[in-house]
């Protein structure tokens, strides 16, 4: 048994917002109350000054395993997730081979169990090989444990194919996750089309390249009834489209990354920092402000990292040939705390909804709460710790962070997965 003493508990699901103690026995929470006294032989952990929330979930990461293990493996990805405070992550299927069969799903689940840290919930491909041409074995993947379906990394270019995918997914209790990118418009685009592309002399990736597919896929929700989750939205217009769909009562949700909340195209300077080359690209300050507003007013459902590890040689090169993506698991919580929660712009309850409750609901996972009987999936956060994002922070095999050099306040101190302590005082077990 383990007793966590003196943390401030935050869980809107069970209306807890107070300092209290939590007792864990085995995999479950067995007692929540004030001034609980440690039993003989029980480990007591002082959490005074800390905040405690249900375990964090990131429903959009890339672990590169199988196929690109030199960038990240399931084990190193799980270490990064644990370091960042996460108990669960959902992996996108653009591995090599693409995760488009039950075997691929099973491989990832087995590997993550062997790692024994954060749980991995594979997201299967919508189409075979993510080629957008033929349905993947979605039913087979559901039976092996796929949490959702997406061709992330590519928009499904044909509206007819996307309609087919959504029709098919709708027979299962799963969400279709859309990477919205009309490649006929974004082809060759490297940065946001506008001032940034003009200034740096590079082809632009216009906002419309995303918004057209967001609009199209929302129309397809009306046609198919399939639940749609829009991945990594980056523009104000995309957010407005999702807002309208929600107001209409459609099963449409969306997510945003800290990259698109806290960085803009203006951060890409004449140094051509390739860590800022991401897909979708960093947008305007106006877009970022609108997205932050969407997070705070509840229009955006989840915070995800789109953790995209790349080896040094894939980033230490010309911007135009550098790979798209930034890692994010180890910085996501700190960025949210530093920029939104600690300044009082976002409540702890909202943070819990964005990083714990909604992603579990969308991935069809069992809810986790801070109530007696719940699985002991917990994240203890030290909101006072200050640090600079640097190579030494990362458990990820790759260090391509867009936030290198950023000063952050607040980080995960301890993580429990089904009662097992996977992060101890900031050190991965």
């Amino acid at each position: 048994m383990t007793l966590l003493k003196g943390a401030h508990l935050h869980d809107p699901q069970v209306a807890i917002d107070d300092v209290a103690d939590i007792r864990i026995d085995g995999e479950r929470i067995v007692e929540v109350g004030e001034d609980l006294v440690a039993c003989d032989g029980e480990e007591s952990i002082d959490c005074t000054g800390c905040d405690l929330v249900p375990g964090l979930v990131d429903m959009h990461v890339h672990f590169r395993d199988p196929g690109y293990e030199y960038k990240e493996t399931i084990e190193t990805g799980c270490r990064a997730a644990t370091k960042g405070g996460f108990t669960d992550v959902a992996t996108m299927p653009n591995t090599d081979p693409v995760c488009d069969t039950g075997t691929g799903v099973r491989y990832q689940i087995d590997r993550s169990k062997a790692a024994g840290l954060a749980r991995v919930h594979p997201i299967g491909a919508l189409t075979r090989g993510e080629k957008g041409e033929a349905l993947a074995e979605i039913g087979d993947m559901v039976m092996e444990g796929a949490a959702a379906f997406s061709d992330d990394g590519h928009g499904v270019q044909s509206a007819g194919m996307m309609r087919c995918c959504m029709d098919y997914v709708s027979q299962f209790d799963r969400v279709a996750i859309a990477h919205c990118e009309d490649e006929s418009i974004t082809a060759g685009g490297l940065v946001n089309e506008g001032t940034c592309s003009t200034r740096l002399g590079m082809f632009g990736w216009p906002a419309a390249g995303e918004e057209l597919e967001v609009s199209r896929d929302i129309d397809l929700v009306r046609l198919t009834g399939c639940a749609l989750h829009v991945a990594h939205i980056s523009t104000e217009r995309s957010l407005d489209l999702v807002r309208s769909a929600k107001a209409e009562g459609l099963p449409v949700t969306c997510e945003v990354t800290p990259l698109h909340l806290f960085l803009t195209e203006d951060d890409i300077t004449d140094t051509y920092d390739t860590n800022l080359k991401v897909n979708p690209p960093l947008r305007t300050p106006h877009d970022a402000a609108a997205l932050r507003e969407g997070v705070c007013d509840g229009s955006i459902d989840c915070i995800v990292t789109d953790h995209a590890p790349h080896a040094a040689h894939e980033k230490d090169c010309e911007f135009e040939i550098a790979s798209f993506g930034s890692i994010g698991l180890e910085t996501s919580l700190g960025l949210m705390l530093t920029n939104l929660v600690l300044p009082g712009k976002l409540s702890w309850d909202q943070l819990v909804s964005l990083m714990c409750v909604s992603p579990r609901r969308l991935l069809r996972m069992q809810p986790v709460t801070l109530a007696v009987g719940s699985s002991a999936d917990l994240t203890v956060i030290d909101p006072s710790i200050g640090y600079v994002v640097s190579d030494g922070l990362f458990e990820s095999r790759s260090h391509n962070s867009a936030f290198l050099g950023t000063h952050l306040t607040g980080a995960a101190r301890d993580v429990f997965v089904a009662g097992k302590r996977t992060l101890m005082d900031g050190v991965v077990a």
Binding site: G188, T195, S197, T198, G201, D270, C317, E318, F319, E320
Partner: protein, 310 residues
């Protein structure tokens, strides 16, 4: 001394920098008119011409400039460098830099490559054109040519016409003209227009004919057919009809106005032969100015005041 260590873009140059380069180029232009076109200004210096993208005129211009400054040159192209064998550019630059070279002159397919080179060497770097980003020595030779014609740059009105989107000339010339007090109008079909002309401090229009009578310089851009991905214009014929500079359009030019072009020209497309060869066309003057301007840039970046110019 220039305020910059390397010549990567014109947006980093002050008006004083530009004036200093143009004034120095005037001295070198005199050298280039001598029977013996050589000075010892950069004797003992080693300059690497790293041309990762094909180029004839820019490369020749730099090589001549180096020879006339008595520098030692090493020529590398994309096909002869290790980049094509899979070595990263950073590794290539560090390897060459380890041989104690003084300067890299780099032409690159990708925007930002010259900056990447500066991060991997202490040698000075001149951008000889990076993607559709910048081509600063082209802009400087254009300024030189225009100044030679008008005696000043301040207050001039310049139209840059044509394939704006794919042009590194726009990225470097427009800001440099603005820095020197000139007004710039960008002209081209919407499919060739830049996304944010305000960033260059320019107006942008598709109405070529309305601009012609108002400007002192018409700067015709080459339509970069090799850079076009997809059909941005219906045909060469229609482009020529709407945006080609022919004698009829040229007849509406202000008295004393000149025509420039960075070359190579698509005769019959953006410019008609009769215009290209007319006295008001300063295209060959630009080429001549290129050698002197590049001599000046290399001389000043390598600490020219310590050397003997003559």
């Amino acid at each position: 001394m220039l305020s910059v260590r390397n010549l990567i873009d014109t947006t980093s140059l002050t008006a004083d920098d530009i004036t200093q380069i143009l004034d120095t180029a005037q001295s070198f232009a005199e050298v280039n008119s001598r029977a013996i076109k050589k000075v010892p200004a950069l004797r003992g210096r080693t300059i690497v011409n790293l041309f990762l993208e094909p180029s004839t005129r820019t490369r020749s211009s730099f090589e001549l400039a180096e020879k006339r400054l008595s520098a030692d040159s090493l020529n590398m192209s994309g096909s002869t460098s290790s980049v094509v064998k899979g070595e990263s550019l950073a590794d290539t630059i560090q390897t060459i830099a380890a041989m104690n070279v003084d300067m890299f002159v780099c032409r690159a397919k990708f925007a930002g490559t010259p900056h990447l080179i500066t991060e991997n060497t202490d040698a000075r770097v001149i951008n000889a054109g990076d993607g559709k980003h910048q081509h600063p020595t082209q802009a400087l030779l254009d300024l030189y040519t225009i100044r030679e014609n008008f005696g000043h740059l301040d207050g001039l009105k310049v139209a840059i016409v044509g394939d704006l989107l794919h042009s590194r000339v726009v990225g470097s010339l427009a800001p440099a003209l603005r820095t020197m007090g000139a007004e710039v109008t960008l002209v081209g079909p919407p499919t060739f227009q830049v996304m944010d002309p305000a960033w260059f401090g320019c107006e942008q229009t598709a109405d070529f004919d309305s601009v012609i009578p108002d400007v002192d310089v018409i700067y015709m851009l080459r339509v970069q057919l090799e850079r076009m991905e997809g059909a941005a214009i219906p045909s060469r014929r229609e482009y020529n009809r709407l945006f080609g500079l022919d004698t009829v359009r040229a007849s509406h030019m202000k008295e004393g106005a000149i025509v420039c072009h960075p070359g190579p020209m698509n005769r019959g497309m953006e410019i008609m032969p009769e215009v290209a060869d007319a006295p008001y066309a300063k295209i060959l003057d630009q080429v001549s100015a290129g050698v002197a301007v590049r001599m000046a840039a290399m001389y000043l970046l390598l600490g020219g005041e310590d050397n003997d110019l003559a």
